[in-house]
């Protein structure tokens, strides 16, 4: 893949300022920029290869939530079960969709970029200019990650009827790190197929998506899950892989670094390495194989990190 094509897979910073701000973008390490069509020429002259994006282009993109955690005194607890705003389910449901992170509050740009990258989403970022530096660091990290385009790993199938209620169920499945594949009809290759409106999953259960996600988790059982995360309730993973390898994308929505995150992957896996935003390449610590799974500790997780692991022995 050429560098240009590779860059095109990254989320694009939407930047309305004139090309006189080019030095600050370059200093931050931003290489890909989307600009209003009227500013295209000046940005080209400034040495960028801008993507022209007009208001109409932006308007057709689906708006995303600013990723992060929210204080919800009535529904969530900061230390027990934080309320996480995440967009993974949208990307998984419509992988060919076009998205925009509209007016991201300060402090969210890097996580938004990582989130879009982790799911391979076509996303535009409208950021607070104060985040330029942190976004630049994240983009630099993403560009340097070893290429690894693998299909999603799924532990269950969900029959997607396209409905809004199912969307919220998918959201809760993502937030609980329950990896699914959306299908048009039940897939016999999965032990668990979720189809709303059936006797097992009555439509009324979609009204309590969190409870339904928990029911699905317990049907699947924790032992049968591809991945478990210990040490945080604010980390959401996407797992991709094939017979040869596995890549874990780990997104930390908690807003602060997590020290000593413990990961468990099903199956005995002989090694692996991690690439952490802000830290770089790190070894997996305190690795052990126990009860049919491989466990290791990541010393520190900022907004985003990936772990590449070899195949099951």
């Amino acid at each position: 893949m050429t560098l240009l094509l590779w860059l095109a897979t990254l989320p694009c910073l939407y930047w309305t300022q004139g090309a006189d701000s080019a030095p600050s973008l370059k200093a931050a390490g931003i290489e890909r920029v989307c600009v209003p069509p009227a500013r295209g020429e000046e940005w080209r002259k400034a040495g960028f290869a801008p993507v022209a994006l007009g208001e109409a282009d932006l308007a057709v993109r689906d708006a995303l939530l600013p990723p992060g955690i929210k204080a919800r005194a009535d529904r969530a607890s900061a230390t027990r079960s934080p309320w996480v705003d995440a967009n993974g389910w949208r990307f998984l449901r419509h992988p060919d969709g076009q998205y925009v992170y509209d007016d991201l509050p300060a402090g969210r740009a890097a996580l938004a970029a990582a989130e879009a990258y982790a799911y391979g989403a076509d996303a535009v970022l409208k950021i607070d200019p104060a985040d330029l530096e942190s976004l630049g660091r994240m983009m630099t990290f993403l560009v340097r990650l070893p290429a690894n385009e693998l299909p999603d790993v799924a532990d269950l199938a969900v029959v997607d009827d396209g409905s809004g209620p199912l969307g919220e169920v998918l959201n809760l499945l993502v937030r609980r790190n329950l990896f699914f594949r959306t299908v048009k009809a039940p897939d016999p290759s999965f032990r668990l197929n979720v189809k709303l409106g059936t006797r097992e999953y009555p439509m009324k259960e979609a009204g309590e998506p969190s409870a339904l996600a928990l029911k699905i988790r317990r049907q699947l059982t924790d032992e049968a899950r591809t991945l478990r995360i210990f040490g945080s309730e604010a980390v959401i993973a996407r797992v991709t892989g094939d017979a040869a390898r596995l890549r874990l994308h780990l997104l930390n929505y908690g807003g602060r670094d997590i020290e000593g995150l413990r990961i468990r992957i099903r199956g005995e896996r002989p090694g692996g390495e991690a690439h952490m935003a802000g830290t770089g390449r790190v070894a997996l610590q305190e690795r052990t194989v126990i009860d049919g799974g491989t466990e290791f500790t990541l010393p520190r997780l900022g907004s985003y990190g990936v772990v590449d692991v070899p195949p099951v022995k």
């Binding site: 604010a234 997590i258 000593g260 052990t288 500790t297």
Partner: protein
């Protein structure tokens, strides 16, 4: 370390829960540490409690403790517990110079009810008298910010280690916990189903002295020896109680029973100079502070906590507050901490004082009052 894994599946089968229609959660203990020949809990004195009282130990106007009186109470308590004539002899029953000793204090009741400086200082003085250097003595808690607030450093000799597992209660720092020693349970559908033991406990300390306070607790009914050593030595424990429901009935004792915590916790010294009879485990206001003016000694955490339940319940009764055993929804305002703080007849969770009896069923001590022998001493 050899990866010999002692895995036990536990359910509440041997115990009749207070609410029979609620299934007790399955708790899975994972540890590679075998028990000692005689585990520290209940230790050599099951069912035995020494209760030393002194009217002069604390000034109820200023809330200041009298260090000299506390020292005398400590001497009398330890000697009575072991049957020795002098304090050094008594302390040598439990410790040798090579020991690395942890003092599990309680800082959650700052500013009014925390493990008293005077008791902590006297414990350290006696340990040093045994020949243990200060660098082998650790005062520990889970949260560094609480330790910083209470600040034991000016009250103890230089070199004593003051450590915590996490910077604060933010669930962002797991480095201080042992990833291979934990209790696993899915209580409310939480994603992180593990509570890990502090590395300090599993990998550094050889002995532990538990120094809890006399406190009311919204989820357990009261918090003393068992909860202080259990919830103060493991991660991710706040998950056991919310939305009005508490799984502390079985969780407290189960955590305390995990090796090596159970074997290494050899001495219980419950600080009852001051206490909290409502809105615990916190003591943000002096409104609910009271003064039992006692220190309890023993090796059996269950026996001491069984007495504690009565102390808290009787004080509440005297203040016209509902019993810690009250399970009526009438008094329940789920997770409404402000209402609980304002009114002693508000529960935010159904309390589980039965956790003490449950711990007895796990072999941690004696909960039957008829079998508990209390020796009262007046100083």
């Amino acid at each position: 370390m050899d990866r010999r894994s002692f895995v036990r599946l536990m359910a509440a089968a041997p115990f009749v829960p207070a609410v029979p229609d609620e299934a007790a959660p399955k708790l899975r203990i994972v540890t590679s540490y075998p028990p000692a020949a005689r585990p520290g809990m209940p230790g050599p004195h099951p069912g035995r409690v020494i209760a030393v009282k002194s009217e002069k130990c604390v000034d109820t106007v200023t809330s200041a403790a009298n260090a000299a009186v506390v020292r005398e109470m400590m001497t009398r308590g330890m000697c009575a517990l072991t049957g020795d004539r002098t304090a050094p002899e008594a302390w040598r029953r439990f410790f040798v110079p090579a020991d690395v000793v942890g003092l599990k204090v309680n800082c959650g009741g700052h500013p009014w009810v925390v493990s008293a400086y005077e008791i902590v200082a006297e414990v350290i003085r006696q340990l040093m008298g045994v020949g243990i250097p200060p660098t082998q003595i650790y005062i520990y808690e889970r949260f560094q910010n609480q330790m910083d607030t209470v600040n034991y450093a000016p009250h103890v000799p230089e070199g004593v280690q003051i450590v915590a597992a996490e910077t604060a209660n933010r669930r962002a720092d797991n480095r201080g916990y042992d990833p291979a020693t934990y209790v696993e349970a899915d209580l409310f559908g939480e994603e992180d189903t593990r509570s890990n033991m502090m590395r300090l406990v599993s990998q550094r300390l050889t002995k532990i002295i538990n120094i809890p306070n006399v406190k009311d607790h919204g989820a357990t009914g009261a918090t003393g020896c068992l909860k202080n050593i259990a919830y103060g030595s493991f991660s991710n424990v706040a998950r056991t109680h919310h939305n009005g429901k508490s799984h502390t009935l079985s969780f407290v004792g189960t955590l305390a029973s995990v090796e090596p915590l159970r074997s290494r916790t050899v001495l219980q010294i419950m600080d009852g100079l001051r206490g909290v009879w409502h809105a615990g485990p916190f003591a943000h206001t002096r409104r609910y502070v009271f003064y039992p003016k006692k220190i309890f000694f023993g090796t059996d955490p269950v026996a001491i906590d069984r007495l504690l339940l009565d102390i808290i319940d009787e004080k509440r009764k005297a203040e016209g507050a509902i019993s810690i055993y009250d399970r009526s929804p009438r008094y329940l305002k789920v997770d409404d901490g402000a209402a609980r703080d304002a009114d002693p007849n508000v529960n935010i969770i159904i309390r589980e004082p039965g956790h003490v009896e449950y711990a007895a069923k796990l072999g941690l001590g004696v909960a039957d009052l008829a079998q508990i022998k209390v020796q009262d001493i007046e100083v």
